[in-house]
Amino acid sequence: MSAEVEIPYTVTARPDTGLYSAKIGIWLFLASEAMLFGGLFSSYLFLRMGAGPGLWPHGLLNVPVGTLNTAILILSSVTVVMAWAALKMRQFSKYRRWMATTIGLALVFLGIKLIYEYPQKFGHFGAYIKPEALAKYEPYLGNNYLASKGLSRRVEITGHLHSIHLEAGTADKPKFEAFIKKHDLKEEHGVYVIEGKEYTSKIQKELDSLKGSKAEYEVKLDAVNADPTNPVYDSPSLWPAKLSDKEAKIDKADIRWAGMFTPEHSSFFSVYFTITGLHALHIVGGVVVFLYFLGPGSALYKRNPEHLANRVECAGLYWHFVDLVWILAFPLFYLL
């Protein structure tokens, strides 16, 4: 003989708290989530305030796209409320439509982030110049001009990496040859060429370990480095700066650190990818829950529609929190 056990207070409120169980659960969960993101934003604060002059980049992210994504999340917060309201009014087909719209908007947000924004960063190159070599790259950095205006100096040259021309120099020969063989590089008059599309941060680390070797990076410059004394670039522009046709050659010996805009490129990108990546994971989590409520979970409507409405309300609270995190993350990374 088996007894069926049901969880109490899934629909009506507990008399002592005035809340149904899931409501308490979701708020405690959100409080712990606030701690999680709070810790990460705290790290952001620490890194941002500790960054030396010119080491915290501005204007590298696409503000109109970020604004669009914010609008999408705000809109999805309304559609999830509409889904809940439709359930409360016992309009099941409307509920399904609003829930599907919420999922659609969440997927658009994720698409913009993961298919458009992230890959663009992964394909962008930046080289931090050593302090003693900054003067050599003045035509691309414009630090004399910036100093005359009392602005922070630039220490990074960014753009699209065309190629790297590598020579053995005084590098350890067996080590150098092993590198050439590993990456199957072809020789042209004693120079080996690494194509920009083949370049990775891992290759950069291997290049760094080839002490004594000579390398020249050919970079198609971002507009800000092509015309660094243009007052337009005194502050970050609303629209992302386009690539110029101008190219620069940077000596490996003058580079402090170079790489694609991946998490290991800089403190900015490490904290950017960590927070926005975790936020994206939360969006994925929300989509999974919403898909369940739209699919198998919606069977509950026939048995107890109020119970389903409560579940959707809790998921909606979570969704508002996800929106809230983005409202804070957007200006911190894109604007300030």
């Binding site: 809340l19 409080a31 620490f46 409320v81 309201a85 016992r90 970050p236 609303l238 957007f330 604007l335």
Partner: protein, 113 residues
């Protein structure tokens, strides 16, 4: 013991008028908050550009946006005291976490820059 007996789904016209009005009011509030939130987002962008990245002013607008969403869209204003207390303490802890981070920069021994 269960408080959720199987129910037969009532037709839309069987929803009590008071309940329907409550739902409609909440939908109205949510739409208003969303509109305000969007306007504040655009304002944040505008402030950041017009003031060349004035952090305090921008964060003030962001703070307003966050409060609007938390208080009205997540209806904290109408929530039970247990919930408000839990949120209050987590916000307090959060602010403390930021404060401790900021204190690192008033440390006379370790001055990063």
């Amino acid at each position: 013991m269960s408080d959720s007996p199987a129910q037969t789904t009532p037709a839309p016209n069987e929803i009590p008028a008071a309940e329907a009005a409550k739902v409609a009011k909440y939908v109205r509030i949510s739409k208003t908050v969303a509109a305000i939130s969007f306007v504040l987002t655009v304002l944040t962008v505008a402030v950041a550009y017009m003031t060349k990245g004035n952090v305090l002013l921008s964060m003030l607008v962001v703070g307003l946006n966050i409060v609007a969403v938390a208080v009205y869209a997540m209806h904290l204003n109408a929530e039970q005291s247990h919930i408000r207390r839990a949120v209050f303490f987590s916000v307090l802890f959060l602010l403390d976490m930021f404060l401790v981070t900021l204190l690192a920069y008033s440390d006379r021994i370790h001055l990063p820059h």
